[in-house]
């Protein structure tokens, strides 16, 4: 008996030890790592920190649901510090050292451009959640933010049809996104019969703080007897002094409305919005959208971060992107890059505005476009929306050398810039 018990004891101990060994091993091996590449310091921290938080929240939620492919997800957070070359270094570190299955990150176009070669070389996946200028389609990148035809063009249409605008000020910060967007808009407006002298284009440096001259120029431009509107691609910190100056110089939304593409709930948090009521923004999501999905998302977000935090459009883009990735990994049954990239095209997941967004062959997604008016509480009221979902167009139809390009990453084409005239892959953007 005693021998037996002794044997049983050792056996039992061995079994426990073995079990412990395996749990340790699973903790080390059986997690799927997800990279988060957002600036937590420097100029862009203001916008990107929120996106890091939302990713952590989504990963935690997924783990509570039981993880992915029977494994837990593990977030790997790095800080590229608003330094563009550092983005490339950190991306390399995430893929090479941490062996992440996919990366969610970047905000500015220049940071995206700087990591592109890394993702291509090391063959990994990047989800990019911010509205951007288009004119790009890469095999390793999935663009969950809006392309120009999902934000800028519908906003201009709204000003045309509802506000009856005839004169246009295109004001932007001086870098690639506003320059390209304004080029597309200028071509689009001229297509619609707007004369050259009815378009004023103005660029300002990053963080521009003295808007007196420009606002009074806009005022003068608007007193030429035609209805005038401002289309603003002014970025980040420069918006607060711009809107303050508008309010102080007494430009009301009923006189000269401003429609902005980079101003969301987060940016308005630093402003007294009472003088700005009626100015517009075009996005694919607003916190005020009244759907059960959104209510649940806001509730989880507030519980995760704090009661005063707001939600915004790029956060929804990460929500969509993350769920698409989860679904594609489940379909592929593996996190292998090539399999997931193939599985992602065609995946469709619910968005927060009451519909479904689908990943298209050009690696952009379908989204509804909403026009919102700024309210006194710093939120937006939706005043107009497109009837259905708008598919993202990588290559603008309004730029002559892009109109003939299409992008389709499915077999057999597998090309991001296929020229339909010459039937060859390559040219612009390659």
């Amino acid at each position: 008996m005693s021998i037996l018990t002794g044997k049983a004891k050792t056996l039992g101990l061995a079994a426990i030890a073995a079990a412990m060994m395996t749990t340790v091993a699973t903790a080390q091996e059986d997690t799927i790592k997800v990279g988060i590449l957002h600036s937590l310091s420097g100029t862009m921290a203001i916008s990107e920190t929120t996106l890091k938080d939302v990713m952590l929240m989504l990963i935690e939620e997924q783990n509570e649901k039981g993880g992915l492919l029977g494994k837990k997800l593990e977030a790997v957070v790095v800080d590229p510090a608003s330094d563009w070359p550092l983005f490339a270094e950190k991306a390399r570190e995430l893929i090479d050292v941490d062996q992440v299955a996919a990366v969610f990150g970047c905000w500015t176009s220049v940071s995206r451009k700087s990591v592109l070669p890394v993702f291509e070389e090391l063959n990994s996946i990047l989800f990019y959640p911010v509205q951007y200028e288009g004119e790009e389609s890469q095999r390793n990148v999935f663009y969950t933010g809006a392309a120009p035809n999902q934000q800028a063009i519908p906003a201009v249409d709204y000003l045309f049809d509802v506000e009856g605008v005839e004169r246009w000020v295109l004001a932007g910060t001086d870098y690639v996104y506003p320059r390209t967007t304004n080029k597309i808009l200028e071509a689009y407006l001229k297509d619609k019969g707007v004369a050259e002298e009815d378009i004023m284009i103005n660029y300002t440096p990053f963080g521009h703080s003295d808007w007196q001259t420009i606002v009074s120029d806009i005022k003068a431009f608007g007193s030429e007897g035609k209805k005038t509107a401002v289309v603003s691609t002014i970025n980040g910190d420069a918006n607060v002094p711009f809107y303050k100056e508008l309010g102080n110089q007494g430009i009301e939304a009923t006189d000269i409305p401003v429609v902005a593409f980079s101003v969301g709930e987060e940016e308005l948090a630093g402003l007294d919005t009472a003088p700005l009521v009626g100015h517009l923004a075009a996005w694919n999501y607003f916190q005020s959208v009244d759907t059960p999905e959104n209510a649940e998302f806001i509730e989880t977000w507030k519980a995760f971060t704090g009661p005063d935090r707001v939600t915004n459009d790029p956060m929804e883009a990460h929500y969509i992107g993350f769920n698409m990735w989860v679904k594609a990994v489940e379909m592929a049954g593996t996190t292998d890059t090539d399999a997931v990239i193939d599985a992602l095209v065609g995946v469709s997941v619910p968005n927060l505005t009451g519909g479904y967004s689908a990943m298209m062959p050009n690696h952009h997604i379908t989204k509804p476009v909403l026009i919102g008016e700024i309210q006194e509480d710093g939120q937006f009221d939706v005043v107009d929306s497109t009837d259905g979902l708008v598919p993202g167009d990588a290559w603008s139809d309004f730029l002559p050398d892009s109109a003939k390009l299409i992008s389709d990453w499915r077999k057999p084409l597998e090309c991001g810039n296929f020229n339909v005239e010459t039937a060859t892959c390559g040219g612009k953007g390659s």
């Binding site: 003295d210 001259t213 009074s216």
Partner: protein, 536 residues
Amino acid sequence: MLKPFRFLVFLLLLPLLALPAAAQSDPRDLINELSQGKLRQRIAQVEAIAATGNSDVVPALQALKDGDLYFKKSDKTVYITRKSGRDLALLDPITGEEIEVVASGAVEKIKVNNSLRRLIDKAVGGLTLMSKDPSVRISAAETIFESGDPESLELLDEAIAAEQDPTVRKKMDLARAAVILNTDASDETKIEAVDLVAENGGRNVLNLLKGVTFNASPAVAEAANKAVEQIERTLVLWDYGQTIWYGVSLGSVLLLAAIGLAVTFGVMGVINMAHGEMVMLGAYTTFVVQEIIRNSFPELFNYSLLIALPLAFAVSGGCGLILERGVIRFLYGRPLETLLATWGVSLILQQGVRTIFGPTNKEVGNPDWMSGAYEIGGLVITANRLWIVVFSLFVFAALFVVLKKTPFGLQMRAVTQNRKMASSMGIRTPWVDAFTFALGSGIAGIAGVALSQISNVSPNLGQSYIIDSFMVVVFGGVGNLWGTLIGAMTLGVANKFLEPFAGAVLAKILILVFIILFIQKRPRGLFALKGRAVEA
């Protein structure tokens, strides 16, 4: 058998008969209809309300425009609302009596957009022309002037006939002229109207007259063109004045940002890269002060900036003192190390603030006396800019007095001119250094209070001013306060004159190029210090 049937028919027809009658007599039903339908149908609804011609509907329309009109989800009746703690007080849309207080979840806001707001302005303008209050009549005339709606001509004529007050009457005549330009009146009447409008001058008239040139008969268009030319000629002069004002205002911001640096870099020769962060700390102090006031003493809000000033001076000055005692005093005479060390400190401060307050912008409110704008002739002067110009000159004067008229200022100048001699006279030079640095940092702090009014309060606030500050001090002449003043104003005005021609980006580049060339010619800046201090 027949009777009840007839009665039934009558009952069935009753609502059909009653509805149009009620709609005309009682605007309340029309207002309640606003809870139905989509945004696109609302224009017709508002037009119907305005068509009653009943001035009782004005409060409801105003509330709709201001986003204060809600409807109860339960029975779809419409109310004007007012905040009552966390709940909403429901007021009768016509009488304005308070009916009940409900949770904000029980009601839904009636949405508006800009075209509706314009329509409401127009309607309210017509409905309030006969109001008893002259200021209401004036604003009614002004809205009609802006909308130029031909339908309001009759109302306007009635109002003009009844008007006694000459100033109000003048406004109404002007509005009438604007309306006439939009009707099919004869050319002579229209030309008269053009002349009347043109007499009033100004930018807002220009818009109307230019509109006339597009779609009127040649004779009228010619008259309008002539008027436009004349107005534009006078406006050109005003524009110069305006540009100079913008320049002075930009200059005052530069002066505020640079004046603290003029002490630490100019007088002491310390390259302080953390200067911008001292400005930022001042701005965050303002934010904290305002938060406390908002939560505990809301009636003091208009004085929040005055309360923040000494605190910001203390916070930034204290930081400066610690920085000097802890880091800089070990590095005197080693400019490169100072530069790197203070740059490191600036990053630490930035990230520290980011960790405590979060990376997002913080809202710092403008007190009432700092919002809005004054119009003087063709000049538009915004209140916050005006106060900042006044404030920067005041700070400059105060610093000047401290340096020239106080014992501390005397010691400071003695130490910077000849350290050894000052020391042998019994001045404790290390402490003078420390307090000079604290003074410079403290001034940066109060600059932060002012800049929080025009810029956004974020951890990056300081970075956007540091380059400009050095530019001003170097250009003005190191060690000379007057140089800083003149330098800031020159750069401000030059920038504003370049901006319209070159654009904001190129203007900044041109200014930088100009300063580089200038420093080649005069390495010590505009007002160079002479004498022994320079050689030391």
